[in-house]
């Protein structure tokens, strides 16, 4: 496909050119893992490398890390992305800012700082990194997370952080040795990743302020509505109210920081009818990351988090991170090529005798399925002319709701008890059904019991 990529930045790296504020990522890369670097299986242990076709450019993140932590530093991540762009020869027009959008017949016109681009399909991968503040009296007068000063300038000060998600807890962690008092507040209780069993929630390495709160050590984690923020000379007065008691609590503090999250700079797309959703107003999307309200407009990268998929048992996707959306990106490229340009490379045929072992190998080792549980699936399709065709990795929701008449999809799911187990979805004559396989303590599903369960699910369909 002919394509063009433009970026307002001066080089590769995106938000990692600036954040996280305390210079260490939340996503890890394990240099030493059960599989060799550069293999597909290794991707499960490397959340930060992009996925090139060229073998020499795989697992780049490892080569950028200095060994002091398995969480890369911000500059290491930036170098990882810059090296990827340079070594793979990705052609990007940097310093070119998208400023407006309009239709012209069957084409989209993107107005940019360097002139106009015309295209059949625009894909907006503009990130979720624009500071966002809720509507709250006085919040406009306080700095956002993105405007936080160096940590030492908070020495001996009372700091009130609005927001109890990762960015709020990241700041609190960085202030622990400096601030006199830290208050973290929002209406609902903090969610911890070890409880949500996902990357939604405060990650384990930022939980120290929570422990300080529990031990009454100068940190207060408060569940309360924040009614207004008043500036009183050199200090602030923050008015809060607890939901259960309606009691007002007023805090006198030296600094207030809005750790209230980020949104996506979608410019004029909302005026063109692109529906947004959620607190941060991200574009609502189909399972193939197309605007749910304006066909033909697609999204890429972290914005994919607003295409939630089935969310079985409430489990969110990892599309807000590199380890999730890097797989979505591959699927999106294939989908756009097929739907809009008629390019549909022939998919490989798989021998019936290999189906069971192939699916069990996939649910045991496929990085796409481990990083995107109950979101992406390996799909096999019954083709009347060719036999059983491996249709690749596909959004699970699309298979369940509008997949082939006859086929099967293998994915991984997690129940509220924390069990991770494979699930096969079948479509027989267009009717979907699910078949949960048992969990395994080592997550190795290549057992006789699992083979029997796969045979039972697929008999008369693919077997």
């Amino acid at each position: 496909m002919k394509h063009a990529a433009i970026s307002a930045d001066e080089n590769a790296g995106g938000m990692f050119r600036k954040w996280p504020f305390f210079q260490r990522l939340l996503s890890w890369t394990k240099p030493y893992a059960p599989f060799e670097q550069g293999t597909r299986e290794y991707e499960r242990y490397d959340w930060n490398s992009l996925l090139p076709e060229e073998k020499a450019c795989r697992a780049l993140m490892c080569s950028m890390m200095d060994g002091t932590s398995y969480y890369p530093s911000r500059p290491e991540m930036q170098r990882n992305l810059e090296a990827f762009a340079e070594r793979t020869g990705v052609a990007v027009r940097y310093g070119c800012r998208w400023t407006g959008t309009r239709r012209d017949g069957d084409r989209w016109v993107l107005e940019t700082s360097d002139g106009e681009y015309r295209c059949q399909v625009p894909i907006f991968a503009v990130g979720v990194a624009e500071p966002w503040r809720p509507q709250m009296p006085g919040i406009e007068d306080v700095p956002h997370y993105a405007e936080t000063r160096p940590a030492e300038t908070y020495a001996g000060r009372r700091v009130f952080i609005v927001g109890k998600e990762n960015s709020g807890f990241e700041l609190a962690t960085g202030f622990l040795q400096w601030a006199k008092q830290i208050v973290l507040a929002s209406p609902s209780p903090a969610k911890l990743s070890i409880n949500t069993r996902s990357l939604v929630g405060v990650r384990a390495r930022y939980v120290q302020p929570y422990e300080d709160h529990v031990l009454a050590g100068g940190v207060i984690v408060l569940d309360a509505s924040i009614e207004r923020v008043e500036r009183t000379g050199k200090t602030f007065r923050v008015h809060t109210r607890k939901a259960e008691s309606a009691v007002e609590l007023v805090f006198e503090v030296d600094d207030v920081i809005a750790a209230t999250g980020f949104t996506s700079p979608i410019q004029d797309l909302a005026k063109l009818g692109v529906a947004t959703v959620g607190r941060n107003k991200l574009p609502a999307q189909t399972p193939f990351w197309e605007s749910a309200s304006v066909p033909g407009v697609y999204f890429g990268g972290t914005i994919h988090q607003a295409s939630p998929g089935l969310r079985k048992h409430g489990l969110p996707s990892n599309s807000g991170g590199v380890n999730g959306h890097r797989y979505n990106g591959r699927i999106l490229a294939r989908h756009v090529a097929k739907k809009h340009f008629g390019i549909d490379p022939e998919r490989p045929v798989i021998a019936r005798a290999e189906i069971v072992s192939y699916l069990l190998h996939e649910v045991t080792n496929a990085p796409e399925l481990w990083h995107q549980k109950s979101y992406l699936a390996r799909v096999l399709v019954q083709d009347p002319k060719r036999g059983i065709v491996d249709d690749g990795i596909v959004p699970l929701q699309s298979f369940v709701d509008s997949g082939p008449a006859d086929g099967a999809a293998a994915t991984l799911e997690e129940n509220p008890a924390g069990d991770i187990y494979p699930v096969l979805y079948t479509r027989r004559g267009g009717i979907s059904a699910e078949h949960a396989l048992p969990p395994h303590p080592l997550h190795d599903f290549r057992t006789r019991d699992h083979e029997k369960a796969v045979v039972a699910a697929l008999e008369g369909l693919l077997l």
């Binding site: 809720p134 209406p187 609902s188 607190r279 609502a284 749910a292 309200s293 048992h313 409430g314 979907s432």
Partner: protein, 141 residues
């Protein structure tokens, strides 16, 4: 954070099942639930598939499809999904967005705690369930 969920808090305050709550309570709930948008004809709840959730309609219209037939239509302020979650069973009908649909969603495993934490919402839901049962009984009779 007064309005971190912004207009969602305003909308919630106007729905019958949240009518008895104070503003801070509504805001806490708005932060607990997740907003979802469904394009027209998109499936929301799937008959026979496990792991579903509790949905409250903010805007739009949902069709209840059972046995291939549309048996009911749900609109703003109405809710669905609670029966399969409370019984621990897969839904017995499909729910499909009849028009673009906005909902607030609570994962199934959090529903019990949500109802226990918000007894006045629980009571309103119970009243609505009683009304549904009475209507179904009348139709059956």
């Amino acid at each position: 954070m007064r309005s971190a969920a912004d207009d969602i808090s305003e909308t919630l305050a106007g729905l019958a099942i949240f009518a008895d709550l104070s503003r801070p309570e509504v805001e806490r709930i708005a932060h607990t639930l997740e907003e979802r948008y469904f394009a027209q004809d998109e499936r929301v709840l799937r008959e026979g598939l496990s792991g579903s959730a509790f949905y409250i309609i903010l805007d739009g219209e949902a069709a209840v499809i059972a046995g291939g037939k549309r048996v009911n239509t749900l609109g703003r302020g109405e809710f669905f999904g609670e029966i399969s979650v409370l019984l621990g069973e897969a839904p017995v009908a499909d729910i499909i967005a009849a028009r673009p649909l906005r909902c607030l969603v609570l994962p199934g495993e959090l529903l019990k705690e949500f109802l226990q934490t918000n007894p006045r919402v629980c009571y309103r839901i119970l009243v609505a369930e009683a009304r549904k049962l009475a209507n179904a009984t009348r139709r059956g009779g």
